[in-house]
Symmetry: C2
Subunit: 331 residues, 2 copies
């Protein structure tokens, strides 16, 4: 028997637990060249809100009744593909389910490096880390001494972005939604400053910590914070538009950034980022991320919910702001 979550309804407003439906199906049957993977961890991502919405954007929208799309990592328990031995671990876009059959094509990462824990392969070495590395390298283009502002900085992507920018010699300021998250940023992760957007005056805090303006703004949130960042750009600033979590759960029209025209006054760039367009950078990204992980220069935290059936709860945590670092489900 295979445990799965199917899309039960296109979410309206906040994601409800009932938007996903627990489902038991027969064990999947392996075909030629395929392998059978038993999942150990499932990842949840803010992007899932869009996948569930049934709108056509950069990926095929899910229909009600479809297996929920998602990344997972686990052990190969049967193999008809010589590239994958029984007993090795793999990660990939394997769906929100306990067992998956695949020919290997939906592995953006592939075989897990046993020197590094499995969970990391869904976070800092997974799509999250690739997003941080490729977006920062290709769009942010950090230079020594530049000031980098990161929103949702205690989230999976933001926490890697900030650390990578520090490793490039930048001053890094993070925005997060609790004192505990802010302490994690300036403590363990070594950010130069953190702003609690729920209790601090964000505009004043940005001014205080970015006196020469923002050179790189990594946007995971959109909304009011994007507008505040646009007010304090340095000349030549780069805005990596990676996410807009403030928009995802809003039904109907969401206002755009009223200060967008400041990109003209500041000769600045806003670039939308979807990691799949940067596959040419993946080998370099994985090599660099592994190097920093193994040297201990890159810290990470997985926020793990126990039990397959808790996957919808894990997903909700992302939108409540409850998670610190990468939100995973231990199957």
């Amino acid at each position: 028997m295979n445990r799965q979550f199917l899309l039960n309804a296109h979410p309206v407003g906040d994601i409800k637990l009932t938007d996903l439906k627990y489902h038991e199906s027969p064990m999947p049957v392996m075909g030629e060249g395929e392998i059978l993977v038993k999942m150990e961890y499932l990842a949840v991502e803010p992007a899932m809100r869009g996948w569930m919405a049934g709108r056509s954007d950069y990926t095929e929208p899910l229909k009600v009744g479809d297996l929920m799309r998602g990344f997972g990592a686990g052990e190969v328990i049967e193999s008809a593909n010589s590239l994958y031995q029984v007993g090795c671990r793999v990660s990939g876009l394997l769906g929100m389910q306990e067992y998956a059959v695949t020919n290997g094509e939906n592995f953006p990462i592939g075989i897990i490096d046993e020197a590094i824990d499995t969970a990391s392969h869904l976070g800092v070495l997974g799509v999250t880390g690739l997003t941080a590395y490729c977006g920062l390298k290709a769009i942010g283009q950090p230079k020594v001494g530049e000031t980098v502002l990161v929103s949702a900085a205690a989230g999976a992507t933001g926490s890697v972005v900030g650390q990578l920018a520090k490793l490039q010699g930048c001053r890094v300021i993070g925005l997060a939604g609790s004192a505990k998250k802010c302490e994690w940023l300036t403590g363990e992760l070594g950010f130069d400053a953190a702003i609690n957007y729920k209790t601090d005056n964000v505009a004043e805090s940005i001014q205080q910590h970015c006196p020469g303006g923002i050179d790189i703004y990594w946007d995971n949130v959109g909304g009011a914070i994007l507008d505040l960042a646009l007010e304090q750009l340095a000349v030549g600033a780069r805005i990596v538009v990676c996410g807009g979590i403030s928009r995802y759960n809003v039904s109907g029209e969401v206002p755009g950034p009223k200060n967008y025209f400041n990109i003209v006054f500041n000769n600045a760039l806003m670039k939308g980022f979807v990691v799949s367009h940067y596959a040419h950078l993946f080998p370099e990204a994985i090599a660099e991320l592994k190097k920093y992980l193994l040297s201990g220069e890159l810290k990470h935290h997985e926020d793990i919910v126990e039990g397959f059936e808790q996957a919808p709860v894990a997903l909700q945590r992302l939108f409540n702001g409850d998670n610190v670092g990468k939100q995973l489900v231990k199957v």
Copy 2:
């Protein structure tokens, strides 16, 4: 006696004729290394609205009582600078006045090529042409067969952008506000199509003329048209944010582009453009623009108002949409 226009009031809403004040001052006195220029043409630009507003953006804001900033072209009638002979013509940021004294530092173009008419040096060979060339080259990066949408396409900058994109092998669609302007675009200028944004259904027309989506959108207007363009981007699109004339005369907050997040779904770029950041491209730009002008491949039109005292009327014409091509004042 020197005739000038001074800033009389920071405009509120639409520019009023009384926001500029006619002023007579003594003839300016030349110093060492300087020259005296008698203006033949003055240029007016949409950017003047921002200069007059007294807000600090990318240039020094003007104060009430200051000489109005502006480009002009005319004859050197006295010279204490061996680089500029009496009788040659020059163009530059010389102020909205009949006579100007300068040491040559405010000449982005410098000495006029007598093989090409003086007025062109304020339009297609002036800041307008440089804007079109540098923005298209550095941000738009047109490739053969791509689809380019240009707003305010019958304006000074847009008309050059569209023609340069055609010369690069692109399909070019222009947006303009009258049937006469649209005819000029598809007739004399060789655009592939024109959309009358006042009478056509803009969204449907874009869909019809850009079936594969917009690869390059040159934005001179902002507002609703920017949002409609954002809805129909091709993957990898580039948006050159050059102007936002729909915003300039609005007091208070102006909504941002509600569809900005489509740059994420389409891996697209929005870059703000101010020509002064692209000085390294000016020699190449001028050489190329001259070549196309002399070969007849680049058409242009100057919309000339007669009489120095008509400068405020000329400025208003930009915001009424009355002008076709570059709006000038013949002194």
